[in-house]
């Protein structure tokens, strides 16, 4: 018997740590000292915001936009938070990147007053979205209209829970036996698309799969 897929909703409220950085030295100090929750918020949860795809985390965005350290911004954007087994590993990598950069550019500029980096954390609420689906066709309808935060929870946040994969492909494989479809879903690069594009890609793949299933002669 197929276990239905239950969509969950993901909402965060922001908490300030009271810490801020006006230049790269302060940012480095902040990254080394703030809570794991703060690092998590500024990196993993970045995908939750509607964003320009130039950056993949708040540190990269601030380096690029507020202190105009473009090269550093590029390197920070290329860090994949899901490649680390814990937050401290990610924190270490962020610090290494900044330290290397500071060796070459030891006197970084200050941000204009008011554009400092503010270290925040989030308190996150996870709750049922009230939508359960039993098959691919129902899933297709749901993914088209479900709230963006739901896609974040099942497509991005799941990578921490499940060790690098998303909830959707896991359900397609485990419950519907759709191994090939799962593999296609897993090939979607989470960092090269915003949530709306992820929705589009998944919908397209599902649409093709549903069409294929309907045409198959069994």
């Amino acid at each position: 018997m197929t276990i239905p897929f239950e969509f969950k909703q993901y909402t965060s409220i922001i908490k300030s740590t009271g810490k801020k950085a006006k230049n790269l030295h302060d940012l480095r100090e902040g990254i080394s000292a703030v809570s794991k929750e703060s690092i998590f918020h500024h990196t993993y949860q970045y995908s939750l915001k509607a964003h320009v795809l130039e950056y993949t985390n708040d540190f990269a965005q601030w380096a690029g936009e507020s202190i105009e350290e473009r090269a550093l911004s590029e390197i920070l954007s290329n860090i994949d938070p899901y490649a680390f087994k814990d937050i401290d590993g990610l924190r270490k990598e962020l610090l290494n990147v900044i330290d290397d950069y500071l060796k070459n550019f030891p006197e970084p500029r200050d941000a204009v007053s008011g554009n400092e980096f503010y270290f925040n954390e989030a308190v996150t609420f996870i709750f049922p979205a009230g939508i359960r689906v039993k098959n691919l066709a129902e899933f297709l309808m749901a993914i088209k209209y479900i709230d963006a935060s739901s896609i974040y929870y099942h497509f991005y946040e799941s990578r921490r829970r499940l060790g690098g994969i998303d909830d959707f492909s896991k359900w397609f494989e485990d419950e519907l036996g759709k191994k090939e479809l799962s593999e296609k879903i897993r090939l979607i690069d989470p960092f090269m698309h915003n949530i709306e594009k992820i929705r589009e890609h998944i919908s397209e793949l599902l649409e093709a799969e549903v069409k294929n299933d309907m045409e198959a002669i069994k």
Partner: protein, 402 residues
């Protein structure tokens, strides 16, 4: 909640319902210093009925004070915004004394108490129980140090503080949440209006509808830079024929309002196309109509708590030009939903740019409305207040499954 279904994001409504399963029938007390004028009173007028409707026993109390008290709190307000003010020990003592008197007459018993702004902040000394939260609506990013330090003694006794913008928060030994304020899409201020009603309102104020209208709605307060708005308008008038409306209501806790209004009137003298409207409190429907009748809405603040008139105008599909102060940059995405400006000249330039590009104005207006739907509607704020309360009751947990 049903009234917001199809307007507010569904996720916000679902979370409110979930949180209410725990917080239903519990008491939630709000205290501020005025029932009319300004954004705080306006939000409370709308939020209290919603909280009651969803089963939370919400109450709103006002602290009473005399002219001396409000003169002092206005100075405190100005100092927190960064203006130099002298607050003597006597004044602080009087500030405390008035709060003490209020503590004797207000029932402070509640499961959660939200104290709005600095006027009632000393009430924490009279706490009887429950979760006490200080809600700071003003821009305290560059406060006069001694004034902030004095208030901090009170703030640090609260369990949590709420600021509208990250940069307002300070390093304090308590939980500090960031919650922007909001607008109510179904209130008289923001509901849909017919074209006839909009025209009728313009007629009543004797404002011709034959040219583009530029509008700023705000208290007559120097931080809102009404004089700067008129200067920008006069500059625009060299190139474009248009009308300027400055509309505002008096607030009972703002003794400077009348002085600034007179300055503005004097500065606008001899310009028949500048309309200065002093609207009585609760003129929400008129403000709604004026915003809808406008081509461009301004909020050229020099200092700002949040500047909710920006979201109000964006909700009505208007491009907004705002000063890059307080919470305005959180609402205006520069070049996408409007423009952020830093000078009178910048304001004049952007007005001309929008007046001469109606397609861009339409695009900005449409994007702005969606942005407000997802971020600045009252249901999101109700959700956030209940979330803070719930998280304080589950302290230490960063992920809460409901």
């Amino acid at each position: 909640m049903e009234r917001y279904s199809g307007i507010s994001p569904k996720g916000d409504l679902l979370l409110i319902m979930r949180l209410c399963e725990t917080l239903k029938n519990r008491t939630f007390l709000h205290i501020n210093s005025t029932r009319s004028g300004g954004g705080v009173a306006e939000i409370l007028h709308r939020m209290l009925p919603i909280l009651e409707e969803i089963g939370v026993a919400a109450r709103w109390e006002i602290i009473e004070g005399d002219k001396r008290f409000f003169d002092i709190t206005k100075k405190i307000h100005n100092a927190l915004h960064g203006r130099t003010e002298k607050i003597t020990k006597d004044m602080w003592d009087y500030h405390f004394e008035i709060n003490k008197r209020n503590a004797e007459s207000i029932n402070l018993n509640a499961d959660a108490v939200l104290i709005h702004d600095p006027q009632p902040v000393p009430l924490i000394e009279f706490k009887k129980g429950g979760k006490w939260i200080w809600r700071c609506h003003i821009d305290v990013s560059n406060p006069q140090k001694d004034v902030y330090e004095y208030l901090r003694r009170y703030c640090e006794r609260y369990e949590a503080a709420i600021f509208s913008v990250s940069k307002f928060a300070k390093a304090m030994p308590l939980s500090e949440f960031i919650i922007p304020p909001s607008i109510d899409p179904i209130s008289e201020k923001n509901m849909e209006l017919s074209n006839d009603e909009i025209k009728g309102t313009l007629n009543r104020f004797q404002i011709p509808a034959d040219r583009p209208i530029i509008l700023q709605v705000s208290r007559f307060d120097r931080f809102k830079d009404p004089i700067g708005v008129i200067k920008a308008y006069k500059d625009v008038r060299k190139y474009n024929d248009c009308i300027l409306i400055l509309a505002g209501s008096p607030a009972t806790d703002d003794p400077e309002g009348e002085i600034v209004l007179n300055e503005v009137k004097e500065f606008a003298e001899g310009s028949p196309d500048i309309h200065i409207l002093l609207l009585p409190p609760f003129s929400d429907r008129d403000i709604n109509a004026l915003q809808r009748a406008s081509t461009i809405v301004l909020q050229k603040s020099l200092k700002e708590g949040f500047g909710l008139t920006v979201s109000e105008a964006m909700w009505k599909g208007k491009p907004v030009i705002g000063g890059a102060a307080g919470g305005i940059p959180l609402q205006i995405i520069h070049g996408v939903t409007g423009f952020l400006v830093h000078s009178v000249e910048g304001t004049a330039f952007r007005i001309r740019q929008i007046l001469n590009n109606p397609e861009m104005a339409k695009r900005m207006g449409g994007t702005g409305r969606e942005y407000v739907r997802n971020n600045f509607l009252i249901t999101r704020q109700v959700r956030d207040y209940l979330s803070v309360w719930y998280s304080l009751e589950n302290k230490g947990k960063n992920i809460l499954e409901l």
